[in-house]
């Protein structure tokens, strides 16, 4: 299946990125290059499109919600996310999740979950949230596959909390 092979590629990219964190020396030079380049560097197309930066450039959704994905998604949310994000619109450490799929595109959501450090460094929307919350979102090592299930759970939560979902896709 197409979807599976895509996610395998993505997973391996994420794994590579994780390995790269080993040497502080590497990190430092990376950072340096980035700040030097920033002036002339073009804003990536994906950021302009509101998809953020990362391995996920297109997510295909079906109108109908997938119950088994929701269950797994919720259990991962519980384990890795719930400490800082509530399901209502109440902000605690991080913003509440109610209505998130109406505000952010699915690609942005999954990139934020799986490519957290890069998003916080490059994506203006993510940076704005960091300025508001003042706690850097930790990398919780969520796989792309797991992020997709969390997204499904968010869609269900949006239906329950605000009565609509996926509103960000059209905008």
């Amino acid at each position: 299946m197409k979807k599976i092979s895509l996610s395998i590629v993505i997973v391996s990219i994420v794994a590579l990125a994780a390995c790269g964190g080993g040497g502080t020396e590497k990190k430092e030079t990376k950072k340096k290059e980035k700040t030097e380049e920033k002036a002339e560097k073009e804003v990536p197309q994906s950021i302009k499109e509101g998809k953020g930066v990362g391995a996920i450039d297109h997510v295909k959704l079906t109108e109908e919600l997938d119950e088994s994905m929701i269950q797994v998604g919720e259990s991962i949310y519980d384990m890795k996310c719930a400490s800082c994000h509530k399901l209502s619109d109440q902000r605690v450490v991080g913003p509440g999740f109610a209505g998130i799929t109406n505000k952010r595109k699915p690609e942005w959501i999954m990139n934020m979950i799986t490519n957290t450090d890069a998003m916080l460094e490059e994506d203006p929307a993510a940076q704005k949230l960091l300025e508001e919350c003042l706690t850097r979102m930790p990398n919780q090592n969520v796989s792309v596959g797991d992020a997709r299930q969390i997204l499904e759970f968010f869609r269900k939560n949006d239906m329950e909390t605000v009565g609509s979902k996926d509103g960000a896709i059209e905008s």
Binding site: S75, D78, A82, S83, V93, Q140
Partner: protein
């Protein structure tokens, strides 16, 4: 040389006197221009080797980087470690169980890295506990002590835990002979009543688990150090002994009477055959085996009650002796497996044995009598040759893989390089002062990385800024890649690094665990998500299911605890990123703190003995809001009716309602996960 006529004690005092004055000048002479450059590892760069040093009386192990001499980590092994809660947390307390009860300290001496085909494979590290005889295993993917096995009926397990070329066995021998089984006898009946055991502990090739396979009952000597054969000599063990006089008082003099002591030579493949044939006696005894479960991180402890004993008198061709110069210390096998170096501490010469000649002497029965049924091989028949007057007090030898041996000399305070084949002395360099063991990366294996040598010194004196009467032991790093050894770095160490092994970083680094996968956490008191955090009471036990993530603990307000309760804080670190441990400390705890790695659960017992409201907090600076990561627990009088409540950023929840919700939810999830896993 005149030394021949001086008694060893006089020689020691002469050299101590010599070293206490005027060694500074010779340091200047031995350090050359570009020494700093050779030991320099730029900021952010990694060292080429890991060196694992035992801590001696600290009971621990320290990991250093070579050539920089950077201290990377202290790994707690045989001593409780309040810094991270090792031995204090409920999970790790059983690691200290022995047949003598909970023993919170030991004296760690010899490091042995696991081997595959005669080379270090970077999987595990083994180290002995001297005082309460034990062997520990450290997992080199986590740098954590995961197993400790007690060795029964021995005393002072100094001669341990020497590994065979495929990690089949860890070989050890008793330092002190004792009555076996222990009994109440006059000490002066040593010769009739005391004997010594040589122990073979098998290592499971997949998980590294240790098991006492068999013990060999030997004459009542002191067994000191050992090495196993490799390549052609694989299947044999060589152990040095001292006190073949069988003295039991003033050993300093009385165990140094004879011109030679003995080296024990053991055919362990033969021993395996006898074992399979059932030629052993089973003895009732008691020893403990403590093992950490990989999925829960909890140590379980089991008392073992039987041991298998092989007696050399009933098992011909299994054990031999060969004379070795006076009071030997090291007994080292070269990379080819052909030469065995006997370091006679009190002898002016060193004997180098040939495996081929020893085998020939055995075949031709070239024996000079026997001791307790064990044939004594003729000294000259097994000898490759003698290294004449290399220095005073040879202790330990390692090899560079280029045909050279390097030996430490305690009394004359130097390292000597010599050619194993020709027995020619090639170089000598002073050390500061009085080295015990030395280490070359891979120096005891078939393929040494003969680039550096570290001498671990017993006496420091004026090497560093003074720190009162007690000084850190000094270590000196030599570059041995050239013809002459070159001193390039001097660094202080922790405890008394007795022996070390060093390994190429490439063999360890790729396996390093960065965090524990929280989805694999099977700890029975784990809280896998903040919504599951809660407090439960069972009689006077209170269990706090607490989570930690940057930057809060949940729950952070707890009420309903009473004086006299046993409160168990089960802290799960929900982080899934590298280098984000959280700590936990609570006022009034009489044990220690907890340091919990990402994805891990650890438990601290707290027994409040006074009424009040007490603070707890994260001890590991984790984020900008670390200082805010804290909470309160209210302690009421014993007979109080304050209800058990807890919460985080909300009104305190009442036990019943939340607990019900939690159980219902958990049940649903289990079913959900089970079906999605199919």
């Amino acid at each position: 040389m005149k030394t021949k006529f001086i008694t060893p004690i006089a020689a020691i005092s002469v050299s101590l006197f010599a070293m206490s004055c005027g060694q500074q000048a010779s340091t200047e002479k031995v350090v050359t221009g570009n020494a700093a450059e050779k030991a320099y590892v730029a900021p952010g760069e990694h060292d080429e080797f890991y060196a694992f040093m035992s801590g001696g009386y600290s009971g621990q192990i320290t990991a250093y980087g070579l050539p920089s001499g950077r201290l990377l980590k202290e790994i707690p092994v045989f001593s409780m470690y309040p810094e991270n809660g090792y031995g204090y947390s409920e999970e790790t307390k059983p690691m200290f169980n022995t047949s003598y009860g909970h023993v919170p300290w030991d004296d760690s001496h010899h490091i042995e890295l696991s081997q595959t085909d005669g080379e270090f494979d970077g999987r595990w590290l083994f180290v002995n506990g001297n005082n309460t005889p034990r062997i520990a295993r450290v997992d080199l993917s986590t740098f954590e002590t995961v197993e400790i096995l007690e060795i029964p009926d021995v005393a002072g397990l100094h001669c341990a835990p020497f590994i065979t070329e495929n990690s089949e066995y860890l070989v050890s021998g008793t330092r002190f002979s004792v009555p076996i089984p222990q009994k109440d006898v006059p000490i002066e009946t040593y010769k009739e009543n005391f004997s010594g055991l040589i122990n073979y502990v098998s290592v499971d090739p997949e998980h590294g688990h240790m098991e006492l396979a068999f013990q060999i009952e030997m004459p009542g000597f002191n067994y000191d150090l050992a090495r196993n054969g490799k390549g052609k000599s694989h299947g044999w063990s060589f152990l040095t002994t001292y006190n073949s006089e069988q003295a039991h008082s003033l050993l300093e003099v009385n165990a140094s009477q004879k011109d030679k002591d003995l080296m024990a030579i053991i055919n362990w493949k033969k021993a395996e055959e006898y074992l399979a044939e059932g030629k052993f006696t089973e003895r009732e005894t008691s020893y403990y085996h403590n093992l950490m479960d990989e999925e829960t991180g909890i140590v379980s402890s089991k008392e073992m009650k039987k041991t298998k004993i092989l007696n050399p008198a009933d098992c011909p061709d299994m054990v031999y002796f060969i004379p070795v110069p006076k009071s030997p210390h090291g007994c080292d096998v070269d990379p080819t497996g052909e030469y065995i170096v006997g370091n006679g501490k009190l002898s002016a010469d060193m004997s180098v044995y040939s495996y081929t000649k020893i085998m020939k002497a055995i075949e031709e029965k070239n024996f000079d009598g026997e001791i307790d049924g064990i044939p004594v091989i003729n000294y000259e028949a097994g000898l490759h040759g003698i290294l004449e007057k290399p220095g005073l007090g040879p202790l330990h030898t390692e090899f560079d893989g280029r045909g050279n041996a390097y030996t430490t000399f305690f009394i004359s305070s130097e390292v000597v390089k010599w050619d194993v084949e020709t027995k020619e002395i090639l170089d000598r360099q002073p050390t500061f002062y009085s080295p015990g063991h030395l280490v070359i990366p891979g120096g005891e294996t078939k393929k040494p990385d003969g680039k550096y040598l570290v001498a671990m010194n017993k006496i420091t004196k004026d090497r560093y800024l003074p720190t009162g009467p007690e000084l850190a032991h000094s270590a000196q790093l030599f570059d041995i890649s050239g013809e002459k050894m070159e001193l390039i770095l001097d660094f202080p160490t922790k405890g008394e690094p007795h022996y070390a092994q060093a390994i190429s970083a490439d063999k360890v680094k790729p396996n390093a665990v960065k965090f524990y996968d929280i989805a694999q956490n099977k700890h029975p008191y784990a809280t896998l998500g903040e919504r599951k955090s809660r407090v439960e009471r069972e009689g006077n036990e209170v269990h706090v299911y607490m989570t930690a993530i940057r930057s809060h603990l949940a729950p952070d307000n707890i009420e309903g605890v009473k004086v006299g309760d046993k409160v168990y804080f089960h802290l799960t670190n929900l982080e899934q990123d590298w280098d984000v441990p959280h700590g936990f400390a609570v006022q009034g705890a009489t044990n220690a703190e907890l340091l919990v790695m990402p994805g891990q659960t650890r438990t601290l017992l707290w027994e409040p003995n006074r009424v009040g409201v007490f603070a707890f907090y994260c001890t590991d600076f984790c984020s900008a809001l670390h200082q805010e990561m804290s909470g309160y627990v209210r302690v009421s009088p014993k007979d109080s009716d304050v209800e058990l409540k807890w919460g985080l950023n909300e009104a305190l929840r009442n036990n019943q309602e939340a607990a019900n919700k939690f159980y219902e939810k958990q049940k649903q999830e289990r079913e959900g996960l089970a079906s999605s896993n199919k």
